[in-house]
Every structure is written in structure tokens, then in C-alpha cells.
């Protein structure tokens, strides 16, 4: 026995369309056997067949045996059930006996199905909305949602899932709306279901749900693959073993001191104070994070609080989309400008035509510069006694490095 799997080209709530599609397939010798994500056809001798979709009047996976037997007596064979929606029947008679002889009664069946869908979907819609809110919170309750999305694929993945859930909610609502419309039409005495199917025998092709789910699936798989591949290419190295040029301003340049030596803190070969990490992501082609800490022997902090140990942390992003630069800079400025420690914070925008934007935030013991140029963004956090504003040329050089 040969079988054939087909993607349903018709919306399952297009009653007339589904019936006509099955009849057309029967005319080619393929008889519907099962319907899930795909329609499962059995090969047989091509013949005329009329299909009928009967709304479920209770939660069941197949009709009661008495009903099947009675339908059989009137020439209608039970075929399968479209989960939660319809029982499918087929008749091979030239003039099949009408399954429904009263529009008002038929509208009850659709009203009942509509009510069932409404009740069962309430819980599902609530769960979908809750999941959506949790996912959104996971991204937008972070202090740096955009930066998180740039550095990690998780945020993007969550946003795609949100769209998926939102589409699922819409699909549920759409199904219910269609069922309700049929019930109303029948109640008003419009026998749109049977008359049309007898005369037109056509169906509107609708791959929209499949395409939508497909796009989301492809995006998810791509995100997953990109995440895995990106992880493979990323690295974390000690700064003293790193020989290539970095798009950062080194601590020695800021300090302008020949006496500066690296202040290492090494555990199992990893220097946690002087290191460079690199990766790329979907939103950023290059991400460098460089930490550097040094010590100048025989020099103390300006306030005399001990041995002078300046440090700098630089984050460099080369974004794939320039429109992300402004929101990222705004987010960084907001985050950096926050004063949770009740210390003095001075934020200042610096006008420099070489940069798209440039700002400096001064705190009690640190300075932070956020600079952007074209699609590049740099955040430089410095703990030391020097003035970062005296190193704008160095920042520009780092940011324009090829």
C-alpha cells in the first residue's frame, strides 16, 4: 500500500476548501487517512469522493461508535479526526445523503466547537502570554538589554521565541474567529458550506502558517548554529602572550610611564587582571574586551592612599548594523550615568568632529569614555590618576584601526 505525505495547502478552518482538496486528491487516487502537521494519503483507485468535516461536539479523538455506525448506514465512512476541530467523513455515493438538514442545528455544532476552543485556548493563551512576558523580561529588565543581545545570541533567540508565541496566539484566535463566522452564517440561514462545495469544488491555497512556522524554525536553527560556530572562534588569552595589535588604548599609553609593570594575578595559567577576549556575534563582527592592570613601583596615588595601581578595561564593538550604534551609546550612557553608590558623577558630552559621539563620565576614582565612530563603539573604563581626555588622539587611532 503506497502512502503519500503532503503539507496541508489549505487552512484547516476553511471547511469547504479542505473538503474540496481531499476530493481532488481522491480524484487522483489519494485518499486522506490521517491529518496532523502533514496530511497522510493512501494510494488507491481514483474515484469520486465527497468529504465532510463535522465539528467536534465534545473532547474526543474519534466519534462515538454509535455515531460512526449511523453515519455508515447513511453512506458516510469515518476517516480521521483533525485534533480538537473536526471529524472527517467520506462518501463515495453519486448523490450523498446530506449530513446536515437543518442550518440552525448545524450552527449549534459550530457554536459548541467555538466555545470549546475558547475554553481550552484561554489557558493556552495565558501560558503563552506569561512565557512571552518572562522572555521579554529576561531581555529588557537587564540594565543593558541591547549590549546583552550584541554579545550573546540568547537575547535574540528570546526575541524570536516571543514572535513565535505571539504568532501562536494569533493563530488560535484566528481559528476561533473563523469557526464563529461559520456559526453565525449558518444561524442566519446561509448554507455557505455545502452549496459552495457543490458548485465550485475549489480551494484557496494557504501556506501562510507553514511558512511562518518555517521561518521561525530556520531563524532558531541559524541562531543556534551561529552561537555554536561563534563560540568555536572566540578566545580568551593572557595579554602578555597576545602579539597582534588591539583596537584599544593600552594602559602604558595612558600612564605614559616607563616604570609601569603588569600587575598579574595568575591562576592555572590564566591572568585574571591582564587579558583579552575576542568573539563575534550576529550583531557584531568583532568584539574585544581587554583588561589591564599595572603597578608603578615607588609611586603612590595622588591622595596618598597607597601604591599606585592603575587599571583599564576596554570594550570594543564593531557593529554589523549602523542603526544600532545610537541606541547602544544611549544605553551605555544611561547605565554609566546611574549613581547607585551616591558618589559624585559628572557626565559631559565632548564635541569632536572625528567621532560620531563622545562622552566622558567622571566618578570618584574612575573615568569612563564612550566613543562611537561609524559602526564602531568603544567603552573605556579607567581607574587611575591620569586624564582620559588627554588621550582622545589615541582613542581615535584605536577606533580607526583596520
Amino acid at each position: 500500500m503506497r502512502t503519500r505525505w503532503r503539507v496541508m495547502p489549505v487552512d484547516t478552518c476553511d471547511i469547504e476548501g479542505v473538503s474540496n482538496y481531499f476530493s481532488k486528491m481522491a480524484g487522483k487516487g489519494y485518499f486522506i487517512k490521517k491529518i496532523g502537521t502533514f496530511a497522510h494519503f493512501r494510494k488507491g483507485e481514483a474515484r469520486r469522493a465527497t468529504y465532510h468535516l463535522e465539528p467536534l461536539t465534545k473532547k474526543e479523538t474519534r466519534p462515538e461508535e454509535e455515531l460512526i455506525a449511523y453515519f455508515q448506514e447513511t453512506g458516510w465512512e469515518y476517516v480521521c479526526t483533525i485534533t480538537g476541530l473536526f471529524h472527517v467523513y467520506v462518501s463515495f455515493e453519486e448523490e450523498p445523503i446530506a449530513i446536515h438538514t437543518d442550518h440552525v442545528v448545524q450552527s449549534y455544532a459550530y457554536e459548541h466547537l467555538h466555545k470549546e476552543l475558547k475554553d481550552s485556548q484561554h489557558a493556552m493563551i495565558f501560558m503563552q502570554i506569561a512565557a512571552t512576558l518572562i522572555l521579554l523580561a529576561g531581555v529588557f529588565l537587564l540594565p543593558d538589554p541591547l549590549q546583552s543581545m550584541i554579545t550573546s545570541p540568547v537575547g535574540l533567540y528570546q526575541l524570536v521565541l516571543v514572535q513565535w508565541y505571539a504568532y501562536g496566539i494569533y493563530m488560535m484566535y484566528d481559528k476561533r474567529r473563523k469557526i464563529k463566522r461559520i456559526a453565525t452564517q449558518l444561524k442566519e440561514g446561509r448554507d455557505s458550506l455545502q452549496n459552495k462545495s457543490r458548485h465550485k469544488r475549489g480551494y484557496a491555497i494557504n501556506y501562510r502558517p507553514l511558512i511562518s512556522w518555517g521561518i521561525v524554525m530556520v531563524i532558531n536553527i541559524l541562531l543556534l548554529c551561529v552561537g555554536l560556530y561563534s563560540d568555536k572562534e572566540s578566545y580568551y588569552k593572557n595579554l602578555d602572550t597576545y602579539e597582534e595589535e588591539l583596537p584599544v588604548v593600552r594602559l602604558a599609553v595612558i600612564e605614559e610611564s616607563t616604570n609601569l609593570i603588569q600587575d598579574k594575578s595568575t591562576t592555572e595559567g590564566i591572568d585574571y587582571r591582564n587579558n583579552v577576549s575576542y568573539k563575534w556575534s550576529i550583531l557584531s563582527s568583532n568584539i574585544y574586551i581587554v583588561n589591564e592592570q599595572g603597578v608603578v613601583p615607588n609611586k603612590t596615588w595622588l591622595d596618598g592612599s597607597g601604591e599606585y595601581m592603575p587599571s583599564v578595561r576596554t570594550e570594543f564593538y564593531e557593529l554589523r548594523f549602523q542603526f544600532l550604534v545610537k541606541p547602544l551609546v544611549r544605553e551605555l550612557d544611561d547605565w554609566i550615568g546611574k549613581n547607585d553608590l551616591e558618589e559624585e558623577v559628572i557626565h559631559e558630552e565632548i564635541k569632536d568632529p572625528r567621532f560620531s559621539s563622545l562622552s566622558i563620565t567622571k566618578r570618584d576614582n574612575s573615568e569612563i569614555i564612550v566613543a562611537s565612530r561609524n559602526n564602531r563603539v568603544m567603552i573605556l573604563r579607567y581607574w587611575g590618576d591620569e586624564e582620559l581626555t588627554e588621550h582622545l588622539d589615541d582613542i581615535y587611532t584605536a577606533m580607526t584601526m583596520e
Binding site: H52, E54, T57, K58, E64, E65, E66, L67, I68, A69, Y70, F71, E73, T74, W76, I97, A98, I99, H100, T101, D102, H103, V104, V105, Q106, S107, Y108, A109, E111, H112, K187, E188, G189
Partner: protein, 104 residues
């Protein structure tokens, strides 16, 4: 204008309720009753029959009294009887109204 659920009965609903007045019946018996009673004038499709039975059961107009294999038997309830009587009176009035009109 279509009738609202059980506020008034359609022809099929009326005859199906009538089928239970004298005895308990299963779906097949109901069809035979209606066919005989109306001399095949009123046809009831299988979908219509079972939708009405489900609706009547849900609304408490009939109740299931026996299940033998595939066969389910139903009986009319007091509520169902009341509904039938009301509909009968309404139809009687309709007929009387028609008889009193000389143009008919």
C-alpha cells in the same frame, strides 16, 4: 431570522423531541420515527440528529438511560416535556391564526 438556541424549535428539533414522548429511543429509532410520522417529508441527516441529541442532553431535555454496545438510548425529561408542550401550543396558535384569516 433564525431561531435562538431552544427559545423556539426548528422542525427537526420539534420532531426529534416528539420521538421521545411515548418511549425511550436510540438515534436510529428516532430517525425511523420521524420518517414514519412525517411520511418522509422531514429528512434528518446524521449530523443534524446527533448535534440535536448532544444539545438536548446538554440542556437537560433528554437523558441517557441505557448503553448497549454501540447503541445509546435516551428518554425525555420533565424539562424536555415542558419545552415540547410550549412549542406545541405555539404551533397550535400559529395554525389557528392562519385558519382565522380568510385570505388563507
Amino acid at each position: 431570522m433564525a431561531k435562538k438556541a431552544l427559545e423556539g424549535l426548528t422542525e427537526s428539533m420539534y420532531y426529534i423531541l416528539m420521538a421521545f414522548l411515548k418511549e425511550d429511543r436510540c438515534g436510529k429509532d428516532v430517525i425511523e420515527f420521524v420518517s414514519k410520522k412525517t411520511k418522509d417529508r422531514v429528512k434528518i441527516g446524521p449530523g443534524t440528529l446527533y448535534t440535536i441529541l448532544a444539545k438536548y442532553e446538554e440542556e437537560g431535555m433528554i437523558k441517557e438511560t441505557a448503553v448497549e454496545g454501540r447503541k445509546r438510548t435516551y428518554a425525555i425529561t420533565e424539562k424536555g416535556l415542558q419545552l415540547f408542550k410550549e412549542e406545541f401550543k405555539r404551533l397550535q396558535s400559529c395554525v389557528q391564526d392562519g385558519e382565522g384569516d380568510e385570505s388563507v
